[in-house]
């Protein structure tokens, strides 16, 4: 398994995604916008459908659309007129509806579409790994610069402004960065369930850890472990990787919940 080139790319890809999603998830969940991951990934199906229909790399229009939606969500986050969850719901339904309509006009069987919906171990190419490496480096540097601002603005927005932290900058970094990251993982994990790797490791870490630092480390470990085991199972049992990893994450979460209840 480990000597096969596409599996090596799958493992490397999952490792990089686990690291970056763990970082973004640390702040998405406490801000109660975990639904945003689903909304962005599902809405990006519109970009994928456009790309497939006109014969270009479908991730390109999906990336542009996701970045734009991330920007809109960041812009509206502090708005009293439009709530974030409402907007996410509109993006999700609008994006998926548009994608299905476009696909209805596409003749014949659409194998690529299934891959983008649930992921495909064979689909990761070297260029995808390079993109993930670049995104991981960008995210790590961004989080190192924005970490304090993100922590305090998540706790209390006004307090972060009084301390003169780059609150607005960090918000746009978080929303747009996460949106782009979701699309970069679509090939491996699929649109439908990619949010599982963003949300579930943090939720599981919350059951186990007793400090912020502990939550961060545990999130990373759970994400890496689940994605590695999920990829291996996906290969061994010929299953789509996205649902396999998602189911494994759910199982780990349930176990952590039980352990938390029993120990308390």
């Amino acid at each position: 398994m480990f000597s096969i080139s596409f599996m090596q790319r799958a493992f490397i890809g999952c490792f990089l995604l686990s690291i970056t999603y763990g970082l973004y998830g640390m702040f998405i969940i406490p801000r109660k916008i975990g639904f945003m991951a689903d909304g962005i990934s599902h809405a990006s199906l519109l970009g994928i459908a456009v790309g497939l229909s006109i014969g270009i790399n479908p991730l390109m229009p999906a990336l542009i659309l996701a970045a734009f939606l991330g920007f809109l969500l960041a812009y509206s986050a502090d708005s009293h007129r439009v709530t974030s969850d409402g907007l996410i719901g509109i993006f999700l339904s609008g994006g998926m509806s548009g994608a299905i309509i476009i696909m209805a006009f596409m003749p014949g069987y659409k194998p690529d579409l299934f891959s983008y919906l649930f992921g495909n171990l064979l689909s990761i190419q070297n260029v995808d790994i390079y993109a993930l490496i670049a995104f991981t480096v960008f995210s790590i540097i961004g989080f190192m610069l924005q970490w304090r601002a993100l922590v305090i603005s998540t706790i209390h927005l006004d307090l972060s402004k009084v301390i003169n932290l780059p609150t607005t900058q960090s918000k746009y970094f978080l929303f747009i960065g996460m949106s782009i990251g979701l699309i970069l993982g679509v090939k491996l994990l699929g649109v439908i369930l990619i949010s599982a790797l963003l949300i579930t490791p943090v939720m599981t870490a919350n059951q186990i850890a007793t400090s912020f630092k502990g939550t961060f480390i545990t999130t990373q470990l759970i994400g890496v472990f689940a994605s590695f085991v999920g990829i291996a199972l996906s290969y061994s049992l010929d299953l789509p990787p996205g649902p396999t990893i998602a189911l494994l994450l759910v199982a780990i979460f349930v176990l952590s919940l039980l352990q938390s209840k029993l120990s308390s």
């Binding site: 304090r148 706790i155 307090l159 402004k161 009084v162 943090v202 400090s211 912020f212």
Partner: protein, 255 residues
């Protein structure tokens, strides 16, 4: 449009001055030509009934709300901009963060590990809770932690929004003692509250916001509305002229 004037190397008796500050939120007029001062090294109370704009005035001075008109002057005794501190009425700490006391100090005020204990001792915070998660603390302990973090930043003016709101009766006196000690150390403190007892017991200066305010004489002012009547006695100075009935704001000195 609201403008802010910063005066450095100033020995002005007031550290903050508001001149005709107005604020409108969602078409509602929250503040209307509010003029008041916060004297240096004082314990100033911003008081009034609910909805009179107490927090809005403080947030406008802090730069968190965009005033629609007026001037705010900040007088700094040094060559740097005055540091403004702020302790909100309540903070809903995300349970998912699992932040401990020491982690909060490190993130909010960049307190060095070696200085955490000294920082907490300044507000009489129980040191056996340094490693505790904030969500496990009592209301009084959280208030002390927030104070400790802001004090580490060495604020010139510290705004406290209803500091006793989430504190049980047994801890109230303790918090007040901590606040008085901070004032004695030279920090100007502005407290937003509707607790008139606290005002009458501890205030150096009072900014009273009440849309139904009526001053009948210099010896006593009545804050009159449909729900209550409150007497403020032993007033030495009232601005504007107390002989006239007026709506709006009154700055009361030396209760």
């Amino acid at each position: 449009m609201l403008t802010t004037d910063l005066k450095l190397n100033s020995d002005h008796v007031n550290i903050v001055e508001c001149h005709d500050v107005s604020l409108t939120r969602n078409t509602n007029e929250v503040l209307c030509e509010a003029s008041c001062c916060i004297p240096r090294n004082s314990l100033t109370f911003i008081v009034g009934e609910n909805g009179t704009g107490k927090s809005s005035l403080a947030l406008t001075i802090l730069g968190l709300l965009p005033g629609s008109d007026g001037l705010i002057c900040l007088h700094s005794q040094s060559s740097r901009e005055p540091v403004l501190g702020y302790v909100p009425q309540s903070i809903d700490f995300p349970k998912q963060f699992k932040l401990t006391v020491s982690e909060y100090l490190q993130y909010s005020a960049e307190v060095k590990s070696s200085e955490i204990e000294a920082t907490l001792e300044r507000v009489d915070f129980p040191l056996n809770h340094i490693a505790s998660q904030i969500t496990q603390l009592s209301g009084g302990q959280v208030q002390k932690l927030l104070l400790a973090a802001e004090l580490y930043r060495k604020p010139d003016v510290l705004f406290l929004d209803e500091p006793l709101a989430n504190v049980d009766d047994s801890s109230e006196k303790h918090i007040i003692d901590v606040i008085l000690e901070i004032r004695n150390q030279g920090v100007t403190i502005a407290i937003i509250t509707h607790d008139w007892n606290m005002v009458s017991n501890y205030a150096d200066h009072v900014i009273c916001l009440n849309k139904n305010f009526a001053c009948t004489s210099t010896s006593a002012c009545f804050c009159k509305n449909s729900l209550s009547k409150v007497n403020i006695k032993n007033i030495q100075k009232v601005t504007p002229d107390p002989e006239h009935m007026h709506d709006g704001f009154c700055y009361i000195e030396n209760i």
